[in-house]
């Protein structure tokens, strides 16, 4: 019997598990995929919003600002990449300037620090590549960029290290109230748990409906992106937004913590909770919109297109509350943008809600963070020497675009939640994230993964279950007709 079971291990679920694993309670996390952070968490803008967008008084406003304030220290404790680059919202005309003043008002009401409106000259001075036609900009010095899947993995690994039980490959099939506790059937597992937290992202409505009365629908929204080569990473130094509209915060241009440039997203109704395809029209929209902010973006330096699905709902706020009809059942749902920014605050929020409905959370005496091991390339000279003498394979560069060594890859395989796929390795140490997109290192990572985990070469997956790379050996089928 677990005290709490968290359903879903994206950045929201991982953040909740992380917070709960600080307490003297037993925690389970069930995740339908073969790894952490496989949904919205791995396909978003990777931005920490300052918190001037949400309407004052909403949960979204409070948790965004609180999350943004907690993010830097959290990332430092877990060794997750984070940079406070600051953000700007551009105005192109008088109407936009009016929007900026409204955002400034909201931001001030929400408690965002340091906001100010820049004149055109001030903005161009700070960001010389911007469209010289802009009319001004809202500047938010607390805007930041982060590695979203890195954060989720670090929080989940810390939770596991502190006793949380993580069930991967376990899609929830049913949740039944057995009077005082729930029984959850998830994949091949059946769990008993006193409390349930629904952090199932784009599937959160379906999970709610298994235990409680339906009261919200996820209306998934797809956002398409370009990721550009590092040679474009320095085109802007801040995250550059356009004025928000009904359909969202619009297309942004931002450096990433990995040194690339991210451009996007669109906001189109998705064809289901996993509709992560990109379209020719969507990509064209991104290009057109981005060039309005900065004409220097060179889309010929694209290294990847992707799309993420956001868990939007008819209402504008997060749904983070105890269920009105199902006892001991808490929803952490409708976590659309700024969900990543709010993640460090959602965990403590959910803990408070659980405590308010009877869960006793006493702090654990021996809680320890699982710091993400440093990559060889980021070590000091002394650390590198020590790493090399510990394992000479730190001297073998596998991913040459990102300078990731075999030692780095082996280190991920020793973590509390080791990767089982090539993309799982990528999410933990960046191998294959660079400009050749794994063209060179993919087969080598494949071999290391197979050798170290015992998964036969033919069974190694690119990413999720069912994404095998190989179909068999040569010298077996040849000569057929």
């Amino acid at each position: 019997m677990f005290d709490v079971t968290v359903i879903g291990c994206g950045v929201t679920g991982a953040g909740i598990a992380y917070e709960l694993s600080r307490c003297e309670i037993s925690v389970a996390v069930v995740e339908k995929q073969n790894d952490i952070a496989c949904g919205t968490t791995k396909a978003n803008s990777a931005i920490v919003h300052a918190g001037y967008d949400p309407l004052p008084g909403t949960k979204m406003a409070r948790l965004n600002v609180e999350g943004s304030k907690r993010m830097e220290a959290l990332c430092r404790r877990l060794s997750v990449a984070y940079q406070r680059v600051g953000s700007m919202v551009l105005a192109f005309d008088g109407a936009d300037l009016k929007t900026l003043r409204e955002l400034l008002r909201r931001g001030n009401a929400n408690g965002v620090e340091g906001l100010c409106i820049l004149t055109k000259e001030q903005a161009l001075n700070m960001e010389p590549g911007l469209n010289p036609e802009i009319a001004g900009a809202l500047y938010a010095p607390t805007g930041a960029i982060v590695n979203p899947w890195g954060l989720a993995i670090a929080m989940a690994q810390t939770a596991v290290k502190n006793g949380a039980a993580l069930y991967l490959n376990s899609p929830v099939r049913s949740i039944s109230d057995r009077g005082g506790f729930y029984r959850i059937e998830a994949g091949e597992n059946a769990l008993e748990t006193r409390y349930v937290v629904n952090a199932a992202g784009t599937f959160a409505d379906k999970i709610n409906d298994m235990a409680a009365q339906p009261f919200f629908r996820i209306l998934p929204v797809r956002g398409e992106y370009y990721l550009l080569d590092k040679c474009q990473g320095g085109i802007v130094r801040h995250t550059i937004f356009q004025p928000p509209s009904k359909s969202g915060k619009g297309v942004l241009i931002s450096p990433t913590v990995h040194g690339n440039l991210i451009v996007g997203p669109t906001a189109d109704p998705a064809d289901g909770p996993e509709d992560t395809g990109v379209t020719a029209q969507g990509l064209q929209k991104v290009v057109k919109a981005a060039l309005r902010s900065d004409t220097h973006v060179n889309f010929r330096e694209s290294i990847r297109n992707f799309a993420g699905v956001r868990a939007a709902t008819a209402t504008d706020d997060f749904i983070i509350e105890a269920s009105k009809d199902a006892p001991r059942f808490v929803n952490a749902a409708a976590i659309k943008s700024p969900g990543l920014s709010a993640a460090p605050a959602i965990g403590p929020e959910v803990r408070r809600i659980l405590e308010s409905i009877g869960l006793v959370c006493r702090a654990k005496g021996n809680f320890t963070e699982y710091r993400q091991p440093p990559l060889f390339k980021n070590m000091t000279k002394a650390e590198q020497a020590a790493a090399l003498s510990r394992d000479p394979r730190y001297g073998r560069v596998i991913c040459r675009c990102e300078t990731i060594t075999e030692g780095d890859i082996l280190q991920t395989l020793r973590g509390p939640v080791p990767p089982v796929s090539i993309d799982g390795v990528k999410r933990r140490c960046n191998a294959g994230m660079g400009r050749c997109q794994g063209g060179f290192c993919g087969p080598r990572v494949h071999e290391i993964l197979s050798r170290e985990t015992g998964i036969p070469m033919e069974n190694v997956e690119q990413d999720l279950t069912g994404s095998r790379l190989l179909t068999g050996e040569t010298k077996t089928g040849g000569g057929a007709e």
């Binding site: 370009y226 990721l227 996993e274 992560t276 395809g277 990109v278 379209t279 020719a280 969507g282 990509l283 010929r300 694209s302 290294i303 990847r304 297109n305 992707f306 590198q384 020497a385 090399l388 000479p392 394979r393 730190y394 001297g395 073998r396 560069v397 040459r400 675009c401 300078t403 060594t405 075999e406 400009r435 050749c436 997109q437 063209g439 060179f440 993919g442 087969p443 071999e447 070469m457 033919e458 997956e461 690119q462 990413d463 999720l464 279950t465 069912g466 994404s467 095998r468 790379l469 190989l470 179909t471 068999g472 050996e473 040569t474 010298k475 077996t476 089928g477 040849g478 000569g479 057929a480």
Partner: protein, 423 residues
């Protein structure tokens, strides 16, 4: 810090030839650095034949061509350091590298030859719409799995791009029991050699769709099929021409990009058109004493030309470190690209540094039959070269006499291509 006369970065065909030639030209201490566990570079996985017709006057496979040069290297005193990755090259020719045996270390080179080769363009570079399932490989990555590792990457294949690697893989996959449903090419002509279209596609009844492209990749976890559309003259898909191909694998053969991260970090001037270093007649880059050759400079279609170019670089590197004082400041003639000419290599020629002729390589912008290449300077035609056939997929080579270069007005000559005036 260890000192070497010549350090060659990369032990593929370019690096091997450069190192052998540096030795022949008197370089004493030579180091060849290779990141893989064996020398030979990409030739190791190019198990098909067609290599060496120019250089060895016989038809060899990739491993055989590499093998001959590896043996030549073994007969020199050059040191070959395998499993070693170069992390940085500086302007004053200090080279930092790392390997499992020695860890992190730096050597000082008298001269450097950059021979890092190229990488493949990926799906992300060309932006194919659709889902992102497993089963989309660059042709070269697939070639490595099939030829070196001995694994099949799919059962039913569609190939995008008709470059030679794509064509070669069409045959290779077919012979190993896969079904290749189609080869799809955006351009109205193939970028591969005619002989490869005959031997690799026609022999096995694999259809080639020119002026077509993949407009959507379908499949949730693994590729389940692709939508192929015809494109108009501007390369834009024509609505209504979509057709679906059932397949589990897509191989991309959509171009190669010189691998110049090290060159860039060293501060070497790069040509935005070739994406390789700007070079002089002896393959010297903008930094004296640092030379470059092979696919790191511009993408070749024949390894024989890589060899020739690399020999020039190797000889020049040996020459550079033999001299106490470097000549400098000789006048250089810029070789400019005129009409229908992509980009020339070298980009600059110092007439004082050549004997009688200088070779210039380039690609043309479209298919020509019965055409001519014109070399002009200051509005005056210096020389005309007749060509029966030219195509972007085949690199052209011309030889410009020294006296033309010495008399170039304004320090520049222009190379252009056009239809012949009369037949």
């Amino acid at each position: 810090m260890k000192q070497y006369d010549v350090v060659v970065i990369g032990a593929g065909p370019a690096g091997l030839a450069a190192a052998c030639e540096a030795y022949q030209n008197g370089a004493g201490k030579i180091l060849v650095v290779e990141r893989d566990k064996e020398p030979g570079g990409i030739l190791n996985q190019c198990i098909h034949n067609g290599f060496g017709l120019h250089y060895f006057k016989e038809e060899l496979t990739g491993p055989e061509y590499a093998g001959r040069f590896i043996e030549m290297l073994n007969n020199t005193n050059a040191e070959l350091m395998l499993d070693t990755m170069v992390l940085a090259v500086t302007e004053d020719r200090k080279i930092s590298m790392i390997n499992p045996r020695d860890g992190y270390f730096t050597v000082q080179a008298g001269a450097v030859v950059l021979a890092m080769g190229c990488r493949e363009r990926t799906r992300g570079a060309i932006g194919i719409p659709g889902t992102r399932p497993a089963g989309v490989f660059t042709a070269g990555a697939a070639q490595r799995y099939v030829n070196i590792e001995g694994y099949m990457v799919g059962k039913k294949v569609v190939i995008l791009g008709s470059g030679d690697i794509g064509l070669i893989m069409a045959r290779r996959m077919t012979l190993e029991g896969a079904k290749v449903a189609a080869c799809v090419e955006l351009m109205p002509y193939s970028n591969g050699l005619n002989r490869n279209i005959v031997q690799c596609l026609n022999d096995y009844g694999i259809p080639l769709y020119l002026s077509h492209t993949i407009t959507e990749i379908r499949g949730k976890r693994r590729v389940e099929g692709v939508v192929v559309s015809r494109v108009d003259g501007g390369g834009k898909p024509v609505p209504g021409t979509e057709r679906f191909f059932d397949c589990d694998t897509v191989l991309l053969s959509v171009g190669l990009i010189p691998e110049n991260e090290l060159s860039r970090s060293a501060g070497i001037a790069l040509d935005p058109r070739t994406k390789g270093p700007v070079v002089y007649e002896n393959m010297e880059t903008s930094i004296p004493g640092i030379f470059a050759s092979g696919n790191v400079v511009h993408v070749h279609d024949l390894v024989d030309f890589v060899t020739a170019e690399s020999q020039r670089a190797g000889a020049a590197a040996a020459d550079f470190c033999r001299r106490k004082e470097q000549p400098g400041g000789e006048p250089a003639v810029a070789i400019e690209s005129g009409e229908n000419v992509g980009c020339t290599v070298p980009q600059h020629i110092r007439p004082d540094r050549i004997d009688q002729y200088a070779e210039v390589f380039f690609r043309v912008g479209r298919v020509f039959s019965n055409s001519e290449i014109e070399v002009a300077s200051g509005g005056r035609v210096l020389s005309v070269f007749k060509r029966e056939h030219m195509a972007p997929g085949e690199m052209e080579r011309i030889v410009i006499p020294k006296k033309f270069l010495e008399n170039a007005s304004g320090g520049a000559v222009t190379v252009s291509a056009k239809e012949a005036k009369e037949n």
